[in-house]
């Protein structure tokens, strides 16, 4: 234990000998969180606020469905519908071509006779219902079905962001169901009028009875609607936290290059002691880094008109999650530093692998939007475990027990990586032989 503290002291002295480096170590992640959150926030605003997304609209239906669609998209106030190019009506083929070339991001095609076909389908449905209602014994229409479904075609530029595509699809789906229910209702009215010519149904403006209210449940009393901040800050903070591998590997390789490690090989002290001393010092660094990033999320982001980060109230869980996430990052750094031959190797592989693990772990594109293979892959990324743990605590108000699986996974990752590093170093001396 005495040797551990002596090694800790040495590591600490080396770290503070470079005050400029230390300041950068603390400031850079903070700056990164603020800037990148801003980029994402304002990137998102373009979609949700500016009514300037051009959409090619091909209405070959020219009947109620096509017209309602047109009306709906226009009323959504996000899109500018374009039906003519150089005063020539856009055809389906032209629309496809323009999107393919990337000139337009979205094209919507309402095929011919769409309204007619929907109406036919509805009429059949209504007739069937009425018949069984009036003449239960003469169920002659029972066998008649109409599975002729109608396709509204939407072309997306492959470069369109996922979030944008989802926003578009969900809004079209919404008013599509409105249109359809309205048509069903009208057809019923028509049929009823035919049966009871005297009957005058009041004109009812049908509004859907089922609305979807988006609620994001959390264990905390009031429900927090997750803002972009809520998603972005933890992602970037974990990403930045794992970048500790760069200074850490550099410290390990420098110790080797300066020859001190060779001297240590002839001294009665284990590599584990030396490694753990580094972990101790850098854990402190990670903790402060994370604290600063969270504080930036809470106090700096609102200065830029962004919602502040809400961290819930479970400070103990946050602290423990921070420690175990840092340990995972540090174990990875120790292993990389031990395995890499040069600073260049370590820095290049270290940073690229963290970007990969972050992307893979769903830090930037939520895991639920990924394909099943990627979703499976995500569960192997330590950044994913850390991210999941923090989101649970911040958004769902989870307790320490709820994030226990993540804690165990992160701790195991640390134990495994640092043990492999120590064994490797013991078996293979830090000089070429």
């Amino acid at each position: 234990m005495f040797k551990y503290f002596a090694a800790y002291r040495k590591e600490w002295l080396i770290l503070i000998r470079d005050p400029a480096g230390l300041v950068l170590l603390f400031l850079m992640p903070m700056v990164m969180v603020v800037i990148l959150s801003m980029v994402q926030e304002f990137g998102w605003s373009t979609i949700s606020r500016e009514p300037q997304v051009p959409v090619l609209f091909v209405n070959t239906d020219q009947d109620s469905v096509g017209n309602k669609f047109q009306q709906g998209l226009t009323e959504a106030k996000i899109f500018t519908l374009i039906s003519q190019l150089d005063s020539v009506p856009v055809t389906r083929e032209v629309a496809r071509q323009k999107v393919l070339e990337g000139e337009y991001q979205i094209a919507v095609v309402i095929p011919e006779r769409t309204s007619e076909r929907i109406r036919a389908k509805i009429r059949l449905l209504v007739n069937k219902t009425m018949t069984s209602l009036m003449m239960p014994d003469q169920n002659f229409l029972a066998g008649v079905t109409n599975t002729d479904s109608v396709e509204v075609i939407i072309y997306f530029d492959p470069a369109v962001r996922n979030s944008f595509r989802n926003a578009f699809l969900s809004s079209t789906r919404e008013f599509n169901s409105k249109i359809e229910s309205r048509m069903i209702f009208e057809t019923f009215q028509d049929e009823l009028r035919k049966l009871f010519p005297g009957f005058n149904m009041p004109v009812i403006d049908y509004e859907p009875s089922v609305y979807f209210k988006e609620i994001f449940p959390s264990g905390v009393e009031e429900e927090i609607l997750p803002s972009t901040t809520q998603h972005n800050v933890p992602s970037w903070a974990i990403f930045a936290m794992f970048f500790i591998v760069v200074p850490l590997t550099s410290s390990i390789i420098k110790e080797r290059e300066e020859g001190s490690l060779i001297r240590l090989m002839t001294i009665p002290v284990t590599y584990m002691t030396i490694f753990m001393a580094k972990v101790g010092v850098y854990l402190f660094v990670c903790f402060i880094q994370f604290l600063l990033m969270v504080l930036a999320g809470i106090y700096v982001l609102p200065l830029f008109n962004m919602p502040p980060l809400e961290v819930g109230a479970n400070y103990l869980a946050i602290a423990i999650m921070t420690i175990v996430s840092s340990l995972a990052a540090l174990g990875y750094g120790i292993l990389l530093g031990t395995l890499s031959k040069t600073h260049q190797q370590a820095a290049a592989f270290g940073s690229v692998s963290i970007v990969v693990l972050a992307a893979m772990g769903g830090l930037w594109v939520p895991v639920y939007l990924m394909g099943s293979f990627m979703r499976h892959l995500a569960t192997f990324s330590p950044l994913n475990w850390a991210h999941a743990g923090f989101l649970d605590i911040f958004l769902r108000g989870s307790s320490l027990m709820d994030v226990f699986p993540e804690i165990i996974k992160l701790l195991s990752f640390f134990a495994v990586t640092i043990t492999i590093a120590a064994i490797y170093r013991t078996l293979k001396p830090p000089i070429s032989t």
């Binding site: 005495f2 090694a7 040495k10 300066e258 060779i262 001294i267 009665p268 002290v269 070429s432």
Partner: protein, 250 residues
Amino acid sequence: MTEESIIGIRDLTKYYKGADEPAIDHISLGIFKDEIFGFLGPNGAGKTTTISILCGLFPPTKGKVTIDGLDIRLNHEKIKHIIGIVPQEVALYHTLTGLENLQFFGNMYGLKGKALKERIGEYLVRFGLEKFARKQVSTYSGGMKRRVNLIAGLLHKPRILFLDEPTVGIDVQSRNVILEFLHELQETGTTIIYTSHYMEEAEKLCNRVAIIDQGKIIAIGNPKELVALNPEFKNLETMFLHLTGKGLRD
């Protein structure tokens, strides 16, 4: 000096990875307790390789080393406590001060507190470094770095001390201090294994020397006796040049 081997070297051979020629080639010898033993040889002779294996830094390709009767591969941890090493290359933390380096390495040997402080202070004065103790090693001259490097290896008063070219790049004044110091250590019961290519220095300092070239021992014995045995050579250096040839080495 008792004629009892504290280090036994048998049939030691080392091929570095991918090398066709051995760096050391079937070396066998014994080093006696409390003697100063010198490995002399031109560049690339295999001095550093030999010392590294003796300290247990890496295993030989073939052969066996015992220290104090213990096989070094099997008892490395035990042996670490009784040996000290001063590597050829300066092995220090460059952003720490000389004092901090010495404190750290002393601590790693389990030394602490006042005893350690006093010993470091004593050595710093002895090697003329007390004024620089609180400056970062990166600001030291080459000779100063080498002196701190030396102290770091003997702070714990090892019974066996390995020094790989400890006097290279050091001025005459400091060199004399070091040689005098090594003599004193020997008197207090330290076995010293040392490498050099300064023949004159070795002649004065060593009880015995082994002249190695291309990984092989080509002469071994007391330097004065070696010269006496070959009266055609005035001193160790002319004999050395004769034995190893005048061509340049890698």
